[in-house]
């Protein structure tokens, strides 16, 4: 337990120390909020979609979370290249403990990042209809964070260096984000695209955030929670397995 705690604490300390990283990773969500929010707002309104900023905010919160999450997981590559992973691997603790501690730490950091983006959306004009579901919204943020940190850990365990990082961002993270209903409503899409969005786990995360923050859900909170929960568990298992196979 103590080992898991100290590994978790390490991720947090590293996060709070690199202010450049915190601010840097806020840049993208803010840009999306301002550029897309104000840019598409009038069109969205005319098309009868309502307040676009309100629609966009949960998606952009999810964006802040997934990038931080996947990055925290993938950081394993650095720990490996710069030796720190060896220090933990020769310690008398199991690899599962290492993986769990790191992933929880990364997920906590990503959740915090989500909360910061959430607070920023207020500054830009997002209005929360009700505060009652806010705790549930935080749970959704944490689940999304956990899912993507575990995914990052799984990928980081397979890669030898950061050369493949750009590939992962462009061919995995970006599509998952764009096809999750974070930027546009999913109803009325062509059936091919629709099918893809339905198998994107982030769709359920974004829908959960919509449900809890703007009370406009497509699948219902229970479905969102179950799908997200099950996929997170599966990814945690895959991540743990791949992490246990790392050879130094």
């Amino acid at each position: 337990m103590k080992a898991i705690y100290i590994l978790w604490l390490r991720q947090l300390k590293r996060y709070f120390r690199s202010r450049a990283r915190i601010i840097g990773s806020l840049g993208q969500p803010i840009l999306f909020l301002v550029a897309l929010g104000f840019g598409f707002g009038p069109v969205f309104q005319k098309a009868g979609g309502g307040d676009y900023m309100e629609f966009l905010a949960p998606g952009v919160i999810a964006m802040g979370i997934i990038f931080t999450g996947i990055f925290s997981g993938i950081e394993i590559i650095w720990d490996r290249q710069f030796g720190f992973l060896k220090e933990t691997l020769v310690a008398p603790i199991s690899r599962l403990q290492i993986m769990v501690g790191r992933t929880l730490g990364g997920a906590t950091v990503a959740t915090l990042q989500g909360v910061i983006v959430f607070l920023l959306t207020f500054a830009i004009g997002f209005k929360l209809p009700s505060l009652a579901l806010l705790p549930l919204a935080i749970i959704f943020m944490f689940l999304i964070a956990l899912l993507f940190t575990a995914l990052g850990t799984a990928i980081g365990s397979l890669l030898d260096d950061m050369q493949g990082f750009q590939l992962i961002i462009n061919f995995l993270v970006m599509p998952l984000f764009f096809l999750s209903g974070a930027l546009f409503p999913l109803d009325g899409l062509p059936s091919g695209i629709k099918a893809v969005t339905m198998i994107d786990p982030l769709t359920y995360g974004v829908d959960g955030l919509h449900a809890t923050l703007t009370a406009a859900s497509q699948f219902g909170i229970l479905t969102d929670l179950s799908v997200l929960g099950v996929i997170t568990v599966i990814l945690l298992i895959i991540g743990s397995y791949l992490f246990s196979k790392i050879q130094i």
Binding site: K2, A3, Y5, I6, R10, K13, R14, R17, S18, A20, R21, G24, W78, Q81, F82, G83, F84, K86, E87, T88, L89, V90, A91, P92, I93, D160, D161, M162, Q163, F165, Q247, I248
Partner: protein, 265 residues
Amino acid sequence: MTENIIQVSNLSKKFGDITAVDNISFSVRKGEIFAFLGPNGAGKSTTIKMLTTLLTPTSGKINLNGYDPVTDSKNVRSSFGIVFQDPSLDDELTAWENMEFHGVLYSVPKEIRRTRIEQLMKIVELWDRKDSLVKEFSGGMKRRLEIARGLLHHPKVLFLDEPTIGLDPQTRNHIWSYIQNLNKEEGITIFFTTHYMEEADRVAERVAIIDQGKIIGDGTPSELKAKTQTASLEDAFLNLTGHVIRSENVSSTDHMRANRRMWRR
């Protein structure tokens, strides 16, 4: 007969078609300073990785402090401390936090941990820098911190993989006198590798030389010199391993080091 703290018998490690370690046997006595020498790519690191549970042997047996690294890795891991060839500190944490982290991972009780961290950091003369981030440290300071960290859980064996590489003579001397002192006072067995033969000659009580995965000589430095009829351990080493320069695989690490800064900020 003295007790062996490390006993290796018929140990082999194959990576596909390549045999990195080929049926080696040797032993290290409790409380001695043992040097494990060999040219680049001879199988030193692979052997250390097997001894320290990071790699599973293809065949053969290892016994470290009475435990088998394959079946009893947890007990083996509690028995040794290691200073890796490459730094393995967390740059973004302070010196003290690196020590604390290690102590918690090795379940050293809090009170003992705090006292020992202070003692050890004073010995390696880093106590006044305890709250500095490790990334601000010089190579020598990092080494000293790693040695202190490797001793925090009072290991029976301390592995030092090229502990003095890239250090100036002052720091090197300082570190060795500290290690020799530990060896004498605490009875900690020292297992080290180095490319500096005069260093091995000076501090090691016994030496094993590995080349192309095989042990090609072992004994005290004077025994090796007598056997090869040479005047220095360096000559004995060259006599046994030949003069051909060995190639070593370049890892992606070099690449990473160059890119690291770019990603960080």
